[in-house]
């Protein structure tokens, strides 16, 4: 019984880690920079396809993940410079529309390049094997997800909450005018941050491809989940989105084991009620307020 509960917990946490890995970039672009970014899933998809393509060509798995980060980050930076920058001053509607436009384009391009069917990702052999974790064996891939997620969570927490870069970013988000006055290069800071956010999405899309399978509809299909993580966690709050991602992963796994029929819409119902109860999310960040 206890081992069954532990299995569910591990399944939930590893799924939650994938959600967190991808959403952490969205926490930056949407939570901190205040852009309603529905295109975030597209950058995760781009990363996933890049890594999938590279691994199929025989490139080392970790190099492929790095490649995913580079490609997703570069395209993200390009998008920031060309189409996102005029958006910062516009309303939510323009942001929603433009980012939906990006989703359409990304979906079409992915279909043209890789076909309409799920695209396989080649994982190294040792990740495909089950390993013993004391009371039972467990897929190494899911343990790998938990480790990677934990490492990135720690890095992001340090970067945003404790480094000079984080302090600058929070200051620029709070009041970009004053930040400019004290001599900060806000444009560069935003472009850099956007690149980091998209690169993280690319990494998440690549390592999470075993759970969220790669297909052209990826960009639209999962973006609601990523948005839920960010909004439920509280915009701009890393702790919040971490907790929300874990909760979402565990609830969804529980649902799959026990109430298979009701799971998906119960999840959205829970989000609905939670947002009515706490419109600012679980742990609203002060910077985003």
């Amino acid at each position: 019984m206890l081992s069954f509960a532990a299995t569910i917990l591990l399944d939930g946490i590893s799924y939650g880690m994938v959600l967190f890995l991808i959403s952490v970039g969205l926490t930056i672009t949407m939570g901190l920079m205040r852009v309603v970014n529905l295109a975030h899933g597209s950058f995760a998809m781009i990363g996933g396809y890049t890594a999938g393509y590279l691994t199929q060509k025989g490139v080392n798995f970790y190099l492929a993940i790095a490649g995913a980060a580079v490609v997703a980050g570069a395209l993200g930076g390009l998008a920031e410079l060309t189409v996102y920058r005029p958006l910062y001053r516009k309303g939510e509607l323009s942001q929603v529309l433009l980012t939906i436009g990006i989703v359409f384009v990304a979906t079409a391009v992915a279909t043209e390049m890789f076909g309409a069917f799920p695209y396989p990702m080649v994982f190294p052999d040792y990740l495909s094997l089950p390993v013993s974790i004391g009371f039972r064996t467990y897929p190494a891939y899911r343990l790998f997800l938990i480790v990677v997620g934990a490492i990135i969570a720690a890095i992001m927490w340090y970067l945003i909450d404790n480094s000079l870069y984080g302090a600058k970013l929070r200051a620029a988000v709070d009041n970009s005018k004053i930040a400019r006055c004290v001599g900060m290069n806000v444009n560069l800071l935003f472009t850099g941050t956007f690149i980091i956010g998209c690169a993280l999405a690319g990494i998440g899309g690549a390592v999470g491809a075993g759970i969220l399978s790669l297909e052209p509809s990826y960009a639209l299909k999962y973006v609601v989940l990523f948005l839920v993580v960010v909004i439920v966690g509280g915009e701009g709050s890393f702790k919040g989105s971490f907790v929300a991602a874990m909760a979402l992963g565990i609830i969804d796994t529980l649902g799959k084991y026990f109430v298979t029929q009701a799971a998906p819409y119960l999840l959205y119902a829970a989000v609905f009620v939670l947002l009515l109860w706490r419109p600012q999310g679980l742990m609203p960040s002060k910077a985003a307020g």
Binding site: L93, L97, G101, V105, V271
Partner: protein, 344 residues
């Protein structure tokens, strides 16, 4: 007369009020006549494209419903598909389980969609911005998943099949050429258009304009903001439900995709492409969208997504008033030229 010229948002430069008012009236009349003349002419000239025309009419009505909520009242929602889908499923289920009469079924669908709009609107309209957006997303995702699971009721992803629809008024039968469906859709669209036109030019419509522009000030001068928003949200839901019912009756089928996020996205794309707060923006947007989709799908089945995506990006960045703004730009040039010739 004044009301007609009000409908032209692009009032000519104030320096030339006399000619402006005189020509504005004629321009207004022509502006109203053209789209409806096209709707009528298409019926005679469409040939095999009549069912495509019916689809366009249905989507025009759907986009028009969104124009009321999003364009006029400024309610930024991605949940409009919820009302369309509820209207479609309500009409379909009504035809199967209650009565095959299309008018009764249509009214029932409108009532159900309006009720759903009223209830959900009352729950979420006090929130704003991203939170509101997420709540509408949650609602439409919830309905989609429910319709997917409840196979016994909705047919799941096979769609709702096996509905029979009686002739309208017992006379006009739905045939394979889709003539009845086209006229039915056109008449319903015309009725809703008159209602919308009346509403946006009423004091109520003006107050919606004000709420969109500055909610806080409207509240300060005593406008019951929440009630106004709830009223227009419910009306918009009823219209979207009506469009859904049309779609169910015209094809005798309801697919799961009516409730998908993509449906919400597409209707927003149409409205924005055509231009918001014009009412006729929905006409232009839906027609252009279908034209583009039809033309590009011949090149490659996924090419339309690329083109529509690029059009959307370009519209947001360069043409905020939508395609109808192209006309405004042209009109402005025309008036500038006239003024110059008058001066001589």
């Amino acid at each position: 007369m004044a009301a007609v010229s009000d409908d032209k948002p692009a009032a000519p430069p104030t320096t030339n009020l006399g000619t402006g008012a005189r020509y504005g009236w004629w321009l207004g009349l022509i502006g109203h006549a053209i789209p409806w003349a096209i709707v009528v002419l298409f019926f005679y000239m469409a040939g095999g494209y009549l069912s495509l025309g019916t689809q366009v009419l249905i989507w025009i009505l759907f986009a028009l419903s969104l124009d009321l909520a999003l364009g006029y009242a400024g309610i930024v929602t991605l949940g409009q598909a919820a009302f369309f889908g509820i209207g479609a499923y309500a009409a379909g289920l009504f035809a199967i389980h209650v009565s095959p009469d299309p008018i009764l079924g249509h009214l029932a669908a409108i009532a159900v969609a309006a009720l759903f709009g009223l209830i959900t609107g009352a729950m979420i309209l006090h929130t704003t911005g991203v939170t509101f957006l997420m709540l509408t997303l949650a609602i439409v995702s919830m309905l989609f998943e429910y319709a997917n699971q409840a196979r016994s009721l909705t047919g799941g992803d096979d769609g709702l099949q096996g509905m029979t629809v009686n002739p309208i008024f017992g006379v006009f039968e739905f045939n394979i050429f889709g003539e009845t469906a086209y006229v039915y859709a056109a008449v319903v669209l015309f009725i809703w258009f008159l209602i919308s036109w009346r509403i946006v030019h009423s004091p109520f419509g003006r107050s919606l304009d004000g709420i969109r522009q500055n909610t806080r000030r409207m509240r300060a001068i005593g406008t019951p903001v929440w009630w106004r928003l709830l009223a227009v949200y419910t009306l918009s839901a009823a219209m979207a439900g009506s469009a859904g019912a049309l779609s169910a009756h015209a094809t005798r089928f309801v697919g799961l995709s009516v409730l998908s996020l993509l449906t919400s996205g597409i209707v927003t794309v149409m409205l924005i492409l055509g231009g918001t707060r014009r009412l006729y923006g929905a006409f232009v947007g839906a027609a252009v969208y279908y034209l583009v989709q039809d033309e590009t799908a011949r090149i490659s089945p996924y090419f339309w997504e690329l083109v529509v995506g690029l059009m959307l990006i370009a519209t947001v960045l360069f043409l905020e008033g939508g395609l109808l703004d192209l006309g405004r730009v042209g009109q402005r040039l025309f008036w500038r030229l006239r003024r110059r010739t008058d001066g001589r």
